[in-house]
Structure formats: C-alpha cells, structure tokens
Amino acid sequence: MQQSICLYTNSEMVKDNPMYVLDNEAFFARYPVVWDEFSKSIISEIDKGTYYDNFTFKDRLGVKLYNSCLSTGAKTLLNIYSHPEYIFDFREAGDNCIELFLTRMTGSIYIPRLQESDLFWLKGRKSLKISLNGIWCKDFWEVADKV
C-alpha cells in the first residue's frame, strides 16, 4: 500500500470531523501505543530519553518515569504512529516533531502554522502521496504552491 500524509491547515476542514483529536494528552492517556523500534526511537529523538518498558521510560538524566511524563510532542507522534486513522492536532508539537513527522512518518495532522520551508523535509521521500486540506497533490511542488 502506498504511504500517505494528509496535512490540514484550515480548521474548517477538521473541527467537525469525528476523527479529529484536539487533546493529544488525553488521547495518549486513553489509547495504547504500538511499541516497536520506531516508536521507541521517538522517545530518544524528541525527549532524549530511552524506552524502558511499555509503561515507563528513562529520561535524559536516567530517571525512570511513567510514560505520562513524556513531552506532549512525543505523545502526539506516538498517537499518530499508533492510530493512523485519526487526524491529530499538531499545534502543540514543536519544530523538532514537524521534522521527524515529515521526514519519517505517515498519517494525518492539523498544522495551521505549516510553512513552505517545512515542506523541504518531504523532499527526499519518493512515492509518498500527500494531500493538503483534503486535496491530493501530484507532487511536492504542488503542495508547496498551495501552502
């Protein structure tokens, strides 16, 4: 199956969608994470910590904490990875999360602050389908034109 990224910059496109998730913290607290090498790498790349088990991680100082202590950005990425059928609000996720999502992940996000320069993270990704506000774009350049 071809991989795809759906980007929404217009709130009108998502606000009434039953699959739209505003509160990433609450979603993370309720639904399980799919743990594999990639989801474990999100902890190390964003929070500079290490996966310990499915419920805990070690932070950058080596202190063992519950996963509820992960940053909101890391939780958002873990939500997207584990539940690709939803559209997640990406406003709380930082610039480092935008980079990781656009370079290595797929899924649907609401990101009103998306800038043309962010799209350069997509450039190296071949055979990736991209939609912007519900419209499929034929290539990276078409997305960049529309942002």
Binding site: E25, T72, A74, D89, R91, E92, G94, N96, R113
Partner: protein, 143 residues
C-alpha cells in the same frame, strides 16, 4: 530568583515580562510546569499562577488575573486554549510577573513577546534564563 525545593533548586533568571518557552518539544516545559506547582505549595508567600488546558475555565482564569498580582505565571499548552481576552489580562500582569507561555507559533498570541526562555535541566537543578537567538528575533520582527 532561586527557590529551594526538596528535590531540586529552581532558578528563574528573567525580568518581569512575557516570554515564550521555545519552539521545540521535549525541552522540559511540562516538567517546569509541575515544578512551579510544587513551588506554589511550598512557598505560599509567592504568587504563582500555573494553568494548562482544562485546568480552569476562561472566566475562572480572568477572575484570578484581575484580583491578584502574580510573581510567576506559566501557561502550559497555551496553543490550544489561548484567547484574545486571556492575552489581554495576561498583558496587564507583565510589569510584575515573569509570564511564561508554552506557545510554538507566536502568531497565535496577540501579546508582545519580550523574549525566549531556555530551560536547562541538570541533576538537582533547573535553570530558566533568557536566551537570545537570532531565529526568534527574525520571527518577532516579521510579525
């Protein structure tokens, strides 16, 4: 200002004003938020207001902001619950309080942001200090 807690020393090195806490995730913003909650309980003479999404209604927060003068204010996850009305009442505190906003896109707030604060976490110590960065200045100038 240095505050001693049983598990760490918290230092906030900033003048009163409005500050963003940076555009990256995983820098310790929510950790700082929880430390400030501890500080509020430990030092009741300090006027500290910390709020995150779902903690208060807008009306409750505005009531607090109009009836108190705070030393430290932190709004966590402010991106998803900010409003122009709240921005206005926060702005009125900027002469007295160090106001820290967890906001990634500075265009989402009408407040004039005075600078960016950097959070440094080392074992037993958390230091929050002003950080001068050219990218931030460029973004602020473009607003």
């Amino acid at each position: 200002m240095k505050y001693k807690l049983s598990n760490c020393l918290l230092e906030i090195d900033a003048q009163p004003g409005v500050y963003s806490l940076g555009q990256n995730s995983g820098t310790g913003k929510t950790y700082l938020f929880n430390l400030l909650k501890q500080l509020r309980s430990a030092y009741q003479e300090l006027k500290i207001l910390v709020a995150s999404y779902g903690d208060f209604t807008e009306e409750e927060l505005i009531n607090r902001l109009t009836s108190n003068k705070y030393d430290i204010i932190m709004m966590d996850r402010y991106e998803i619950w900010s409003s122009e009305l709240l921005d206005y009442f926060l702005y009125k505190q900027k002469g007295d309080a160090v106001i820290m906003l967890d906001v990634k896109d500075l265009n989402n707030v009408i407040l004039e942001i005075n600078g960016k604060l950097d959070i440094k976490i080392i074992p037993g110590e958390v230091k929050v200090s002003e950080y001068v960065d050219t990218t931030f200045r460029r973004q602020a100038c473009c607003r």
